[in-house]
């Protein structure tokens, strides 16, 4: 599902423009992961041009090759070989053209920062080799790449290419798009999810200042007005009668691993421990609420959106407004980080309906309340785990039941459940007999993609439980883990994080350190968290150390930033966040009711060591940093005050109660 089998076409990947700049094309989307920068580095190296000349176009459906979507920290892993090969192929074509022009064999020519050179006096800028014929052709599978020593950008820390636009305010986020004649939209919300519209009285709204149109398509009702305030004020006066339809989620049982003899080994184990861990639903909670600009005309539509899957949006919008897909152009804009939430094209679909109805371009930006109330969220999870240890303190059997709901916009697709809702449910430790089962159970909450999907939940349970097993068998938590790690890269990140954090150091009273580690989509990550727990039960995260091995590293600074951000966000989930909902309706709809970490909660330091195995292919870093943090913090809380808290968030009450027991 992640890979396309179509041959790669050069003209869909790399374009040499007449002004001498290079356009690199990818269907991936940058939400702040730094993809634009990493891709520019790769192409600049392979094509041998200064990086300033490379423009990266992401997700424009009229230009880029089809892409399923930006998920699962796959982008760098997937696109690196493709962009490299395409750029190398482009460079070879330029050398061949220069060879014909200069009547010099190709092997006597070389390139030098945007020029073909013959070793003597002759230097031809790439652009002079265009001669009105664009570079094109099927990119060969096998192609010599630039030797490591000639790479000037990849592997070096680079500031992100859009940084200057961001700090000067010039960057155009979705809601910053301004089109001639553009109006503003507001949606009339039903009392509950999936409600059916029975009747509508918009007489008052039609007379409100600035109102241009009231639009209804199916169960979507909205107001289009000159100004945002006017659209919202008018939407509030629309009287709609709704029929509430109870929404039940799907259910399914998915065996993830079923080694024989688990029950017998558990029964025969010399030490047996069972625990359950609980995580609440949490909100993606982007700082910028969902937004889209739609310009739908009878003969075609242009959509300015934030999305993980531009081609998916194209298909949905085309169907909704009744246009053929090739008449819909989706132009992804810079967007507020949304960590998976934009896998659902909510605002885009609504804006398209409003634009079609009003016959004008429409900007729709959700309110903060709408963003909390109507966005999909990460579902709750209950993780039950039982393990048996032999007399020597080694795990011999492991039984794990994960109860949760679907974690992606793909819904109950049995082919993807184990990799999404079941992500990282199978422990990375060896060797023992394991039975791991995913139970998809109904919830009325609207659920969908959130950074690392269920991995953050499963690793919280697994890594908390590893500490509990170590304690129950009187073993040291780090040593206990190392006894069950054979993979050398995994072992190395765990040992290194212990080393660089000074694991085992004596700490002042009420302070403690916890360790946790995982392998997430072939990225190895280990963390140590240090906390202080006040007598009140208040947790303060003081320091975090993290060692990450993402294979070959394109932009070490970009990796550090992503991992730090993942840790900071995950610390916020762990200590502060719980999305409350009732009958499918979210009831925490503002930052006051759903606090996230602020500058005052940020730890004194998050030290990230990027120690990629240069011989391994590059892997993703957008999500893995967020995965082990919850357990590292919970384990640190236990070390600090003896409170083992198996339910997140780590509130003062829970910690006080756990301390007392």
């Amino acid at each position: 599902m992640w890979d396309r089998k179509d041959p790669e076409r050069l003209e869909q990947r790399i374009r040499l423009e007449r002004d001498g700049t290079v356009t690199a094309l990818s269907g991936k989307i940058d939400f702040g992961q730094g993809l634009r920068t990493a891709f520019a580095q790769l192409v600049a190296d392979e094509l041998d041009v200064p990086i300033e000349r490379v423009n990266v176009v992401l997700g424009d459906t009229s230009q880029v090759p089809f892409d399923f979507g930006t998920f699962g920290s796959h982008s760098v892993a997937q696109e690196t070989p493709r962009l490299r090969k395409a750029a190398a192929f482009a460079r070879r074509q330029l050398l061949e053209r220069a060879s014909a022009k200069l009547r010099v064999p190709v092997d006597r020519l070389d390139t030098d920062r945007g020029l073909v050179v013959d070793g003597g006096e002759r230097r031809i800028p790439y652009v002079e080799l265009l001669d009105g014929t664009p570079l094109s052709g099927t990119v060969p599978d096998e192609l010599p790449l630039m030797p490591e020593r000639r790479r000037r950008y990849a592997g070096r820390p680079m500031p992100r290419v859009e940084a200057r636009d961001i700090v000067t305010g010039r960057a155009t986020f979705v809601a910053d798009v301004r089109l001639p004649g553009m109006l503003r939209g507001a949606i009339v919300r039903p009392p509950g999810r999936g409600a059916k519209l029975r009747s509508l009285n918009d007489a008052a709204a039609r007379k409100m200042p600035g109102v241009v149109a009231i639009v209804r398509q199916g169960d979507v009702v909205g107001v289009v007005a000159e100004r945002d305030d006017q659209a919202r004020a008018a939407a509030a006066t629309v009287e709609a009668e709704w029929h509430l339809v109870p929404v039940e989620g799907p259910s399914a049982d998915v065996p993830m691993r079923s080694d024989p003899g688990v029950d017998a080994r558990l029964a025969g184990a010399s030490l047996r421990l069972a625990q359950a861990y609980i995580l609440p639903s949490i909100a993606n909670a982007p700082i910028g609420p969902s937004a889209a600009v739609a310009d739908v005309r009878p003969d075609g539509a242009t959509m300015y959106v934030g999305t993980h899957r531009p081609f998916g949006v194209r298909e949905q919008v085309a169907r909704s407004v009744g246009l053929p897909e090739d008449k819909v152009r989706v132009l992804p804009q810079i967007t507020s980080g949304s960590y998976g939430r934009n896998s659902h094209a909510d605002a885009a679909l609504e804006a398209a309906i409003l634009s079609k109805g009003a016959g004008r371009p429409v900007l729709l930006q959700w309110t903060r309340e709408e963003e909390f109330a109507w966005s999909p969220s990460r579902p709750e999870a209950l993780l039950e785990v039982t393990a048996g240890l032999d007399a020597d303190g080694r795990i011999v059997a492991w039984k794990y039941d994960e109860h949760t709901n679907v974690h992606t916009a793909a819904g109950l697709d049995p082919q993807v459940l184990s990799g999404t809702s079941g992500r990282n449910a199978v422990p990375p430790y060896t060797p023992f007999a394991a039975k791991v089962t995913l139970h998809i159970e109904p919830t009325r909450l609207r659920t969908a993609n959130f950074r690392s999907l269920a991995a953050a939940e499963n690793v919280f349970a697994i890594e908390s439980f590893m500490d509990e097993l170590a304690l129950a068998s009187r073993q040291e938590p780090l040593a206990f883990r190392l006894r069950h790690i054979n993979d050398l890269r995994f072992r190395r990140v765990v040992e290194r994080v212990a080393e660089c954090s000074g694991w085992g150091a004596k700490l002042p009273p009420r302070r403690g350190r916890g360790i946790a580690c995982t392998i997430y989509h072939d990225t190895y990550v280990a963390q140590v968290a240090e906390v202080e727990v006040a007598a009140s039960g208040q947790v303060r995260l003081l320091n975090v150390w993290c060692v990450v091995d993402p294979g070959q590293t394109i932009n070490p600074e970009g990796v550090r930033n992503q991992i730090e951000g993942g840790i900071q966000q995950s610390a916020s989930w762990t200590i502060l966040e719980e999305l409350r909902h009732r009958d499918g309706r979210v009831t925490t709809t503002g930052w006051d009711a759903y606090p996230i970490a602020t500058f005052n909660d940020a730890p004194a330091s998050i030290e990230v060591l990027v120690e990629g195995d240069a011989t391994a292919p590059p892997t993703g870093v957008g999500e893995p940093g967020a995965v082990p943090t919850a357990a590292a913090i919970a384990n640190a809380v236990f070390a600090a005050c003896g409170a083992r808290v198996r339910q997140l968030p780590l509130t003062r009450d829970r910690i006080r109660k756990a301390t007392a027991s």
Binding site: A163, V167, F173, R178, E557, S605, I606
Partner: protein, 150 residues
């Protein structure tokens, strides 16, 4: 209602409905979209501007109130091509990911440095405590403000 606003040192005449927020005027009438909408309740800092020297939420100010103030937005921090020290430091420290909250952070930081050129870490955290960042660049932003302070 007709109003004259002073934004980034220039006078702007606008005609907007009563109770229109400063944020809406900046974004919708003056095309200064670097100031961003986040919550409309003054709880996230994405829409901060400097009003008479203080960082304030432009979603809570009416345009009418703002007409009596000197307003600086993120677009007004640089002098031509010369970035403000906090802008330069945020680029150097890569103190951003998606960048949506960056304008507001820069405004808080610039207002802080104007009144306290050598803030310690606590002062920086306090000054930026109203700026929420979901990507989690707090540590880098603190470093950047320190760098900008020299």
């Amino acid at each position: 209602m007709k109003l004259a606003l002073t934004v980034n040192g220039a006078r702007h005449d606008v005609d907007v409905p009563p109770n229109t927020t400063l944020l809406s005027v900046l974004r919708d009438d003056l095309a200064l979209t670097g100031t961003r909408f986040g919550c409309g309740r003054g709880q996230c800092g994405a829409c901060y501007v400097i009003a008479d020297g203080r960082a304030v939420a432009s979603c809570l100010l009416t345009a009418d109130q703002a007409a009596r103030m000197e307003i600086t937005t993120v677009e007004g921090l640089a002098r031509g091509d010369q970035l403000h020290p906090v802008q330069r430091a945020f680029v150097e420290e890569d103190a951003m990911q998606c960048g949506y909250c960056t304008s507001g952070m820069l405004i808080s930081a610039a207002a802080l440095l104007a009144r306290d050129p050598e803030p310690d870490e606590t002062a920086i955290r306090d000054a930026l405590a109203g700026n929420l960042c979901r990507c989690g660049v707090y540590g880098r932003a603190i470093r950047a403000v320190r760098t900008a302070a020299g």
